[in-house]
Symmetry: C3
Subunit: 342 residues, 3 copies
């Protein structure tokens, strides 16, 4: 069951052009494109006439022309031309979804209710600015949204699945703290690894050597937005009481989790850092590393889903490392229950 | 539901040889081959012994030998040899379907009733003669038979889907007339585009320049035979009252529509012209153009079917250009209803 | 329905290493590997924690570490470590299947009852010795176990399906004798082709020319073990009354038939000969020939299964050559019925 009345990442901003993009989001086929003036538009990807995908049509000025029989729509989805006749029935309009382009991500509202613009996650780090440098990408996973949430809420797997890159032994062994914000449904998981060996990829980018403090603080806003605050600093130098933390290096790791179908999910990712600003080589290094990490998750979740499809009964043994994931499951279950009642 | 008691194109004549061809027609697997004397034969593609496809067997003289255990059949489907024994049970015979080779096409009767040879569509243009030159081919589409009928009965899509070749703006905008012959079930659609720009591919083959009259008269004999009479002529020079039309160029475009399964269909096509007779270069040009046009239809129908499979509910908005397709749908529905009552 | 309480071949001995192998056996995913000391282990391929395939884990010494979150198991399946905590719940153990490495094959017991070691088929020819030379391999077939049993119990198909190699006309025409041992359920099929042309591949390996006696005696121990005793000898020189048969050449052809799913099966094969011992060139020749024969069976059974999936009703005509296969069907049916009653 999809949690419809929420914002989800639909596309990277750079993916959208006058050549439409087809994406299945929350089970619905969506055609995403820019008009020639640059406006971002999302239509139900199905011409009202005979159902041909509008993503196979052509953008002409501020209109989209269906590639099968030429039905033509303005950016609001209103049908403005039908070949061979002047009268245009109202039923010929196509559903247009609310979209917001906010920095490197384009968000979509698939709900039937009015779009709640106040609920749009704030992502100032991902809008062009002088303090953060960003790399980003997207992967499609042939696994359920819930398996991806499990994966991201329990980072102890870094030690084993991503042992070649971001995973060090301490990630799995360091105890975590979990908080759920009953107001906002946010799930927070804190893992403070103090006086641990600096992982190679942080050494390379920060110049720190030997022991460091490495903090991983997850802030998950269900269903679709996940933010990991990573902090690397010299040992025993916490942020100042007023919050300043200039002696530390910060990386924000973002995930936009967008269900595609019941058993597939888009994994939009972005990394923002407050060091090595604008250094192309570091961009390329981090992008390559993160692509590798995401691919390891993709491979693991694909096989987990395929095994789940085979299985007659699901049994699990939950342990301490699972507390973040279990908290997220409880929040999602209660949101789904609330959506059903509505 | 298949309309069984009808003729369908099963193969191009040139496709058949002593190496059997396997084709699924109206849901049934059929083995098509020629005996060594050249006789065309169609068997149920399933050995009565253990079900092995007879299309994997070998033609020896006027018999087919199963490739698994050697059961042997004459051209009428009678089992004439079983290894290891002399007695041959009657149940060992295989079903043989009536077939007719008529010019470039081989027709098959899949019905349970007696084959109605009088109902075989007349295709004199497709039998070797001095007045018409022909090119032909076949494509398999992963879409339902009904989607292909929709496609062919509404040629306004030429303007958009085939805009690079046969589609000109006038095809979509010129009003059509539709007739249904209650006796024969034939559906006819007339589109007379007068004083229009000659499309490039007709200029090239006919030598006509500037404005022409371009007529497209569809004559669809449901379920499996479609004939489009295309006429290109100097402006305002209709056929003479006695029917003679020597100042015009004619092209007959044939489609044999043969359901394979509920969601796949064979699209046998042929083009016959009464100009540039026997010119190889024109043959190659027309064959290449038509293959491209058919491939555009294949791509469009494949995606339409895959979207239809995804969709919870089908909604359509029908307009004037759809009147031919709607008439064909009505005729097919009434034929299916009649077949159910029988 | 699987006959669980039996031994099946799970792997070739040479397939197993410290890098685990994943195989689906009797519907269950199984992880097969060797510990660093060489012990063969078979686990349910599903970590009790979150179901990740243990076959993607790493062998460290005598333990297997799950590749997702690091749960660690000893060779008996007991969970010995969980990251982030000391207490290990008993439910964290993984099912470990009894396995026996016996020469070139590793056998597995998938049953819920105690493994019956006395029921393990004896295969002395396949354990390293001075009297027999062996080649072996494995193929996976996308067809049911029952179709493979049909295939192997009726060798008359050699004449048609394997006509290019082992099939001669006499295989199909020579009458067979069939015996069923009510005690052991063994099915035996005897085909003694006397004074027949020596097939080319036996001429090449034995040096015999012209007419020979060629015997094919099948000894099938349902469900999973099949042994064909092939004997090639000068004409009219049967084995001596005391059983000695030194003037003949013998080949034992083994098949381990292991259901993977309801519609797929592993076909483990091995050829042991008592002539040309240790000759590499003959090994390569026989291995290549047998791989070709098995591939012809794979192709035939794959298409038979795919047609069976399509078919509304199955009809068959059984004849004399089918008596071995029909006997095996009856035995398997009674074993399944007995298993249901248990």
């Amino acid at each position: 069951m999809y949690l419809l009345e929420n914002w989800y990442v639909a596309a990277l901003s750079v993916e959208l052009d006058t050549k439409p993009l087809s994406r299945q989001i929350l089970g619905e086929h969506v055609a995403l494109f820019r008009s020639e003036s640059g406006r971002v538009v999302a239509f139900a990807d199905q011409c009202p006439h005979r159902g041909y995908p509008l993503s196979l049509g052509s953008v002409v000025g501020e209109e989209l022309v269906c590639g099968y029989h030429g039905f033509t729509f303005d950016c609001g989805g209103v049908c403005v031309a039908i070949p061979g006749q002047d009268r245009i029935p109202g039923r010929a309009n196509v559903r247009s979804y609310p979209v917001v382009e906010q920095g490197i991500w384009v968000w979509i509202w698939m709900g039937h209710g009015e779009a709640d613009y106040g609920a749009l996650p704030a992502t100032p780090w991902l809008v062009a600015n002088d303090e953060w440098s960003t790399v980003s990408g997207v992967a499609k996973i042939s696994a359920s949204f819930d398996l991806l949430v499990d994966n991201l809420l329990d980072l102890s797997h870094e030690t084993y699945l991503h042992g070649g890159s971001i995973g060090t032994p301490e990630v799995a062994t360091t105890p975590i703290e979990v908080e759920v914000d009953d107001e906002t449904n946010a799930v927070r998981v804190f893992r403070h690894m103090n006086a641990v060996e600096c992982p190679p990829f942080y050494s390379r980018t920060t110049g720190l050597q030997g022991k460091v403090d490495r903090w991983q603080d997850i802030d998950y806003s269900p269903p679709g937005f996940y933010l990991l605050h990573a902090r690397i600093a010299p040992v025993a130098q916490p942020p100042l009481p007023d919050g300043r933390d200039d002696h530390a290096f910060h990386m924000k790791i973002f995930y936009g989790l967008t269900p595609s179908t019941e058993t597939s999910v888009y994994d939009f990712w972005a990394l923002a850092r407050d060091f090595c600003l604008g250094e192309d080589e570091i961009d390329r290094f981090l992008e390559k590393m993160q692509r590798g990490v995401v691919q390891e998750d993709v491979d693991a979740l694909n096989i987990l889903q395929s095994r789940a499809d085979d299985r007659r009964e699901v049994s699990e043994v939950s342990v301490k490392i699972d507390r973040g994931g279990l908290a997220a499951r409880r929040v999602l279950a209660s949101m789904r229950e609330a959506a059903t009642r509505r």
